[in-house]
Amino acid sequence: MDPKQPTELPDWLQQPASAHSQASKTSFLQRNQRHLRSLLTRLAQPAPVVKNQRWHLAPQINLIRLLLLVLLIALINNVTLLWCLALLLGFQLLLLPPSQLRRFVRSWLISSFVALLFVLPSYWLTGPGTLLFFGLKTSLMLANAQYYRLTTPFQDLLSGLKALHCPDVLIMTLAIAITYLRMLGQHLLLTMEALELRTVAPTKHPYRLIGAMFGNLYLKSYAYALELYAAMEARGFNGHYVRTSPTRNHWPDYLSLGPDILVLILFIFWRN
């Protein structure tokens, strides 16, 4: 560093700044900061999951159930069977604490609305019957997926996949993705805040800023990857991702699949 020090401050720095402001709309930075904050909150404290010991199922069973249910709902065109599946979900929802139930309803309604937005015009094409049927099926699928998300912590998803013998690399990659989603999200949020603090007029070239922001984010990811690999090697990483799962009593797990399988059998039976 240069040892010689300037002794005088330039004039412009000694005068009080003249107020300069221009009208502008709410910036895209604000909106994105809001989204990112809610994502980070969600990642920082995943939903307080109901841990009802008696009804707590193995993660892999939960995952299989979800896939089975969604598949069944997609396949079934019989109103009665769909109704039964809805009732099944309804009884599960009863076990949720009230605050979670409210959360469930809110996000379920929003996601159903979004998913249905695109089919609404088909009313003029196919009439109300098809639309209603499609809407009910879609929202039933979304409800099941939402229930899974609400009751499954990220870790359970990983151990579920592990128990289903997914390749280690895939599980490790998922685990890294979840961890670094939080770190990169934090970095992006801070970058946007820093940018915002130096924004004193409406942004003329928002895309240039966005390009720089994501360019930086990529470079940061690259730096993280180098660091992470070094750390993995230092801990003797050998390509395996080991997770011990406690031995447990399996009968409630299989029992919990019972109703779904019953509906499946009914479905096959009914078709013929």
Partner: protein
């Protein structure tokens, strides 16, 4: 003249407390050092002062304007606040996003509607003040930690803010560079800028700070004393030395 007034201010993060019932008044032209153990709320206070966070309860007055979430929902007011208050982040990585140091410094002034000559002048002055002339055409991303700190300060100075917030500005600097940074801050302070700096380098800042605001690990205000008061309390000095 009272510049900043905080009354009964609390800030909570989703799972922890950030600041607990803070009452504080800061006058124009003060040089304030925020001190305290890690996690005591220094950065949180700076975030509130800069308008990045708004307190759930309590008030923050900047001169005669209450800064609330509602006030800041207007982009124009927010921009006015950003022009008054400049902040150097603890993690300067997030603050530098341009492709060259000169561009980085010109980013702020360019929005002020200055002409090219004025912008160039500001860039040159800021580079000179922070002793970054040699870095002019370098890529900020590739600089060392200490260099990034200085470039970040230069880029904030270019907007000529009245209040300068600095979060741990001395971290990662050599002793000589720390001294130089503090000398520059003193000079800015003498030119009328209000400086609020979070630091735990008591050794370095004890000579330059005019006022010391100390937080405890419960996120509360522990002590608020002038430099002269602090000189007469050796046990307090000893405590700050251990931070």
């Amino acid at each position: 003249m009272v510049l900043i007034k905080l009354a009964n201010l609390c800030y909570d993060y989703p799972n922890t407390c950030g600041l607990d019932h803070l009452d504080l008044t800061i006058n124009t032209g003060e040089f304030v050092c925020l001190m305290g153990p890690n996690g005591s709320g220094k950065s949180t206070l700076l975030r509130i002062l800069s308008g990045l966070a708004t307190p759930k309860t309590g008030e923050y007055w900047l001169r005669d304007q209450a800064i609330t979430a509602n006030y800041l929902s207007d982009a124009q007011r927010r921009q006015r606040l950003h022009q008054t208050v400049g902040m150097v982040f603890q993690n300067t990585d997030v603050q530098l996003f341009n492709t060259s140091v000169a561009e980085e410094i010109a980013f702020g002034p360019r929005q002020l509607g200055l002409n090219d000559a004025e912008i160039a002048q500001r860039v040159t002055d800021c580079l000179h003040l922070t002793a970054c002339e040699t870095l002019r055409d370098r890529v900020p991303y590739q600089l060392s930690g200490g260099e990034k700190k200085r470039v970040a300060l230069a880029s904030v100075l270019a907007l000529n803010p009245e209040i300068l917030l600095l979060d741990e500005p001395l971290n990662g600097l050599t002793i000589a560079a720390q001294q130089q940074m503090l000398t520059l801050l003193q000079r800015l302070n003498a030119a009328g800028k209000t400086i609020i700096m979070a630091s735990h380098n008591f050794q370095q800042v004890q000579a330059v700070g005019q006022r010391f605001i100390i937080f405890n690990s419960l996120h509360q205000l522990d002590a608020d004393m002038s430099q002269a008061d602090l000189q007469s309390q050796p046990e307090r000095q000893a405590q700050l030395m251990t931070l």
